[in-house]
Symmetry: none
Subunit: 218 residues, 2 copies
């Protein structure tokens, strides 16, 4: 795991860093808030161990800035103040965890491990092909960057075409995937949906017909 330790007191900083390295983490150390933000610009850390009382730029401000950037790094904040109000304030700033000084190193290590333990939820794959971007999770479709509002069936059909990755998809296959099991195979609902899809997706055309076979994207 990649860890940044931000602590102005040199001895404490090194102690923490060495302890974490013993747990097989890659640790960088800086001694003020400004330097911390620079590093966070360049490198992709998993966890930031952040002292609250920092010279130049205060720990709170580092925290706020990270939140603003929507950084993926998680913050464990260290602070001298042990009273409840300060603890609450720290968490409210966007820190992910909080540890009052003085602390046992083992506890810091345990909290760092807890922060890094769970893998970030894997984002569902965004389907993309020939100018079409479809995000299954957000239920959005873009054509060359322009948002295209689609109905449920249109969305489902387009998703199937994209999943086919350029292969032809028969009307029967589409019926099977995008409609429920009691769909009537003798109707032309698929044709209608394809028609509307083509219109909404605009020019140049991306949905092509493979006569006698089905439809193909690209």
């Amino acid at each position: 795991m990649r860890i940044l330790v931000v602590e102005d007191e040199p001895l404490l900083a090194e102690t923490v860093a060495q302890g974490l390295r013993r747990d097989a983490h890659a640790v960088d150390v800086v001694h003020d808030g400004g330097a911390a933000l620079e590093r966070l610009d360049v490198n992709d850390y998993d966890v930031v161990v952040l002292d609250r009382d920092l010279p130049v730029v205060h720990g709170d401000d580092v925290c706020r800035e990270l939140a603003r950037r929507e950084s993926a790094a998680r913050v464990l904040m260290l602070t001298a103040a042990a009273d409840v109000d300060d603890r609450v304030a720290g968490l409210a700033l966007g820190a992910d965890d909080y540890l009052p000084k003085p602390f046992a190193f083992r506890e810091l290590a345990a909290r760092v491990a807890a922060l890094g333990r769970r893998a970030r939820p894997a984002a569902p794959p965004v389907l993309e092909r020939s100018g079409i971007r479809l995000d299954p999770h957000r239920r959005e479709v873009y054509r060359d960057g322009r948002y295209v509002p689609l109905s449920r069936k249109e969305f489902a059909v387009l998703a199937e075409l994209l999943r086919a990755a350029g292969a032809a998809v028969s009307a029967e296959q589409l019926l099977e995937k995008a409609w429920d099991e009691n769909a009537d195979p003798f109707t032309h609902t698929v044709r209608m949906t394809i028609l509307k899809l083509r219109r909404k997706l605009g020019d140049p055309p991306v949905v092509h017909t493979e006569p006698g076979v089905g439809y193909r994207l690209a």
Copy 2:
């Protein structure tokens, strides 16, 4: 946010639950570890407030089981023992945070909020989007700088929409996150809440309907 409180002492359990409900969370309560695991099977909680000393199934075992299942729920463990060794042990089991009894309710609330935030990596404490500012900590909402008083359910629903960051959220998902388990999925309480939200938030409209799918912010 959807929360499960696991605490065998009835009075404490209810106090905690009601306090969290006042913060516009949907809270379910159970009194032993076995029941907790059953609920966790069925519902999708964001945070579990877990007493360590539990009848039937011990809190540690609940924790282990959750880790085994790779549950996405975050665990805040409550325990009578305040010494460092126990804290480290709890975290090692897979708990995400740890709070020794006795505690101030405000601190529990703050830690629950922090854990909920962590579920979506680095989400800033104040949610903001398209002219809407929502402060979970202060429980306040502003539309273009003007204060908008919201009821608990309205607040909870808006918070979920904001957390989705522009993605569409189905009525089922809203029920899952903003209502507790006695909610009836066949009614239109969600529609009503959305209706009132729209009115209070004023023009131009920010809550859009995705027909057949759900609601989307912006």
